[in-house]
């Protein structure tokens, strides 16, 4: 026991400097993170934290046990090593495993600082951080309170423990059926501050009409205003958990009827709903947030050599594993998108200047410009790019000359021998200096990025450009290029976007093309998944499907008194993608636990008749199928199926969306 504590203390001491330095570097790079408390934990504590979703205490539930069991097993086989846990809180709490190598620790620390910046500055996180002292989250305390309260119910001799578990299970099945674009308290009408906010913010985002129509419909905006109204076919309620909390009952087996729910049960629903809202912010910004952290981690660890020379290989290996895992990897997609944002913003500045060179127009741009000269002009100042401890005299001279890229205090500290510039060269640089040092378009892998701009994009930029013969040469045009443009745009984007708007705005055809993204679909005829499209619009559409509403179908309350019998009518807002009906039926059984009376779900299913399948098979085509509305009803005993009248089918059907990216001739 004593030895273990000593190990933790030793680890902590060794990490003090990296922690301090990482924060200084993060701030110098323009980040503005919440303060972070770092905790050194042993291996088992780390597994516990992972099982609890990053927190130290949660309500009793078998799911945590399952996660813990999995974590232990993965451990045994050396898989799934935990690299970082940080939670959205002010101050944020991050956990470092004492047995990790120094390279891993540093990677975690830099990664964590970037997450803490995202938590503090992203508006969607802001939606859920309105409960702490001064507009800040107090997540750990909230979860701890909930843990205590639910634990008390479980141990209350008056309450059947399995009943509590049943309620929890039921709510967990529905944790994504909330209205994540609203704040937690909106539906009670006591928080109307951000309605205009949201509308404004949506305008600011400059989203494509597509996304506005599909995600942020006018109905959606309207529904924010009248959150208190009863749900109806025209105005369904998205926050199913709130609705069940307020209007649900309990089914009494003995008396064979619905009775008022006990207050503890309503309290459990309310608490778990609050947790769902808290975690929603993370789910909504996963790609952005992970990409953001991966971007800054890579810059600090790799480019800025925060990893020592001896640690660099370990780090490179670590990074390759995180970014290289197969499938659609949020770290990788996010990082690539951020790099694209950076490059595009930087290029815009460059191109705008190049277009203002005498004789250069969007038509002759690719011929008239000498891109090697552009490259040379964008090259950072050699001293900024490669300063070492030997450059102290030159650095002092630059500071005295008022060169803003050099930090007078840092240079003075280096003069006084307080800082080793060979280890921490960035100490001598300001934000401007660092931006130039890491200027993306000067990096080898992006050298051709300026040149690769399309003529359409050039034309768009040139269209409203006046004063277009300002410069005589490339050198003159690029002399005052703002090296900070990329980072500034990135910080703006991280403030206002979530994954959907982020992907919608920045997943350009150029991006899809250069990263070999594709969509796949299941072929009924071939009985397997096939590559369906490499078209950027298709890829974006598919990605948006995966991120809209957490990648889950949207389910809303359409009627709380269906058929005038107090039955609940839910609707799956059908967007052309079918529901997993097996799971849906199982969920309905859980909804019954919270409603106490029969529950109904409307959905649309694609049916294929045998004749059509046969014809399609012979012609080697995909069968079309027919969309049919169905109502599933669970009455406490069994699920039955009913036809859905056309009126109701229309109410849940979106006619103007199509997520299918199959080409017509893909089996040929």
């Amino acid at each position: 026991m004593k030895d273990e504590r000593q190990l933790a203390r030793k680890t902590a001491t060794a990490l003090e400097e990296p922690v301090d330095r990482a924060r200084e570097l993060a701030i110098r790079l323009g980040l503005d993170p919440y303060p972070v408390n770092y905790w050194i934990v042993d291996h088992d504590e780390m597994n516990e934290l992972i099982a609890y979703g990053g927190f130290q205490r949660r309500y009793p539930h078998w799911r945590w046990g399952m996660a813990y069991d999995r974590q232990q097993k993965q451990d045994q086989f050396g898989m799934g090593k935990a690299f970082e846990i940080v939670n959205n809180d002010n101050p944020s709490h991050a956990f470092l495993q004492e047995s990790n190598s120094m390279a891993d620790q540093k990677a975690v620390i830099t990664h964590v600082e970037a997450h803490a910046d995202f938590f503090a500055n992203n508006a969607w996180f802001g939606l859920y951080s309105d409960r702490g002292e001064v507009g800040e989250p107090d997540a750990a305390a909230m979860l701890e309170r909930h843990a205590g309260a639910i634990d008390d119910y479980m141990n209350d001799p008056e309450i059947d423990r399995t009943e509590v578990e049943r309620i929890i299970d039921a709510v967990l099945c529905l944790e994504d059926t909330i209205d994540q674009h609203r704040t937690l308290t909106d539906e009670r009408g006591d928080d109307d501050r951000d309605l205009d906010d949201i509308a404004d913010r949506l305008d600011d985002l400059g989203l494509s009409e597509d996304v506005r129509q599909h995600v942020f419909t006018d109905e959606w905006l309207d529904s924010r205003e009248d959150g208190l109204e009863d749900p109806s076919l025209e105005n369904p309620e998205l926050d199913l958990l709130a609705y069940l909390r307020d209007h649900g009952m309990a089914y009494d087996d003995d008396r064979d009827k619905a009775v008022e729910r006990e207050s503890w049960a309503t309290d459990v629903v309310d608490r778990l709903r609050e947790e769902a809202y808290y975690f929603a912010a993370q789910k909504m910004t996963k790609v952005m947030n992970e990409g953001w952290a991966a971007y800054w981690e890579s810059l600090m660890m790799g480019d800025e050599r925060f990893a020592g020379d001896d640690e660099f290989l370990t780090y490179a290996d670590h990074q390759a594993r995180v970014l290289g895992s197969p499938g659609l990897n949020p770290y990788k997609l996010g990082k690539q998108l951020w790099e694209h944002v950076e490059n595009t913003a930087n290029r815009a500045e460059v191109v705008d200047r190049l277009l203002r060179i005498e004789g250069v127009t969007w038509r002759n741009f690719h011929d008239a410009i000498d891109f090697e000269a552009v490259e040379a002009a964008l090259e950072p100042d050699p001293l900024v790019a490669g300063l070492t401890a030997n450059d102290l005299d030159e650095l002092t001279a630059r500071v005295e000359a008022g060169d803003e890229r050099f930090d007078p205090e840092g240079v003075a500290a280096a003069q006084a021998g307080e800082v080793d510039l060979d280890r921490y060269p960035w100490f001598a640089l300001t934000y401007e200096g660092l931006a130039e040092r890491h200027y993306s378009l000067a990096k080898r892998q992006y050298r051709r990025f300026v040149e690769s701009i399309s003529r359409e994009a050039l034309e768009r930029r040139a269209r409203y450009m006046f004063d277009d013969d300002r410069y005589a040469s490339i050198e003159a045009a690029l002399e005052d290029i703002p090296y900070t443009a990329g980072w500034e745009t990135m910080r703006d984007v991280r403030e206002s976007h979530n994954d959907i708007t982020f992907i919608d705005s920045f997943l350009t055809p150029e991006f899809v093309d250069s990263n070999n993204y594709f969509t796949y679909e299941y072929s009924q005829a071939a009985g397997e998944y096939r590559v369906a499209s490499v078209d950027a619009a298709d890829v974006k559409k598919k990605l948006l499907l995966q991120f809209t509403n957490f990648g889950k179908p949207t389910i809303a309350v359409y009627d709380g008194n269906f058929d005038n019998r107090g039955e609940l009518l839910l609707g799956h807002q059908y967007n052309g993608v079918a529901l997993d009906e097996g799971q849906a039926k199982a969920v309905l059984e859980r909804v019954f636990e919270l409603w106490g009376r029969p529950v109904n779900l409307m959905t649309v299913r694609v049916e294929y008749d045998d004749h059509e399948l046969e014809v399609a098979r012979r012609r080697r085509q995909e069968p079309e199928g027919t969309e049919v509305g169905v109502r599933l009803r669970y009455d406490g005993e069994s699920v039955t199926e009913h036809d859905l009248p056309p009126g109701l089918t229309e109410a849940i059907e979106a006619t103007d969306v199509d997520y299918d990216t199959k080409p017509d001739d893909w089996l040929a």
Binding site: E48, I50, A51, G54, R57, R58, P60, H61, W62, R63, W64, G65, M66, Y68, R70, F83, E84, V86, H115, A147, D151, C173, E175, D176, T177, K286, G327, L328, P330, N516, Y517, F518, T519, Y520, E521, Y522, E528, Y529, R530, V531, S533, K542, Q546, F550, G551, K552, P553, H572, V577, A578, L579, D580, E581, A584, A586, V587, R590, Y659, P663, W666
Partner: protein, 438 residues
Amino acid sequence: MGLREDLERFKDVGETRRQDLSEFISYGDLGGSNPDRVQIPIKIVDLPEFAYDKRSMGGVGQGQGGKPEPGQPVGPPEPGDGDEDGEPGEEGADHEYYEMDPEEFAEALDDELGLDLEPKGKRVIEEIEGDFTDITRTGPRGTLDFETLFKRGLKRKLAMDFDEDYVREGLKVDGATPRDVYEWARSQNIPVSMSWIETAAQEIPADELGTWESFEAVEANLDREPTIRRLRREGLKEIPFRRQDERFRYPEIIEKKQKNVVVVNIRDVSGSMRETKRELVERTLTPLDWYLTGKYDNAEFHYIAHDAEAWEVERSEFFGIRSGGGTRISSAYELAAEILESYPFNEWNRYVFAAGDSENSSNDTTDAVIPLMEEIDANLHAYVETQPGGAAINATHAEELERHFGGGDNVAVTRVSDPEDVMDAIYSILSTEASDDE
């Protein structure tokens, strides 16, 4: 700690949340076990949620080295694709597996099928030591049953205890001799000895002699204090431990018949046994192996592959082999008979399971296989016919067996044409034996 409890709870819940057993047998991954250590991974069904149909949803992938062509097949989507569970740092959620040992599996399968096959104990008799529940008067000190010693001591003390003050008052009766007092005390059921009274008589102060006129006066004026109250007041002080009270624990000796089973699995590996048939055989025979492993103390398995010839193989190869030759099922039974010679039927339960597509060389079934099956003593012979998409004309082996044995005689014949039939086949095989037991 909370998590330990959550883990315990998960293990309990895991019981009830595991994938339906018949679904697992028909469609699950059976590959995770071997006969030495059978661990049966059964998917744990996590809480359901409203989700898209995976196939209808499609997805996005990233080409490795170049742009893929539309129409090109891609593997099944990887877990972790897209936004699954949302916490940063969390890897894509895989399914959790619940591991069953064979005993548990056999029990669960019995539940599922409504069977309760009681394995026959064969003649091998063994003595094993049971719990230390028997008791003897001698034994090593380490097995001394102190509780018994204490209880017996306590009983002894209670039996010997008496109200000493009361007897002393008797000695103060005018003119009473120790013998008088002894007789009086004994008449009162006081367990006092003569020698105690004689000693006590010496100690009565002279001026107290004659305090009472008679024994009647003592009785009228004083109450005897019951032993219990005195013990409460004075405490136990000491318990007399006597050698004759010592008892030693001894393990109970249980005579047990060991339940042995030998299973011969026979599979047709000839050219006509294609992939689908092969898989159906594996799905049917593997759970039977597990089941019997779970039911018996000691299970041995033999695997025979055959085309026109038969040869014994390892389990790991058994389901994968494919040969080109024709089919002569009797070759396998000849080999089975040879193998079973080392497992006398009076000591071993024997099962012979054969599977194939019912195609056999002409007359082999009636001329050779049926006589061999009758000759080989076994609890159960079974033939599993796998004919996805209907039987071929020359596939008559199963039919001929049925005609001959007519469903009785410890012979089960069953047909599996797709995974849905597997459970029925297993049921009809196991229930054939169960019904013969009665």
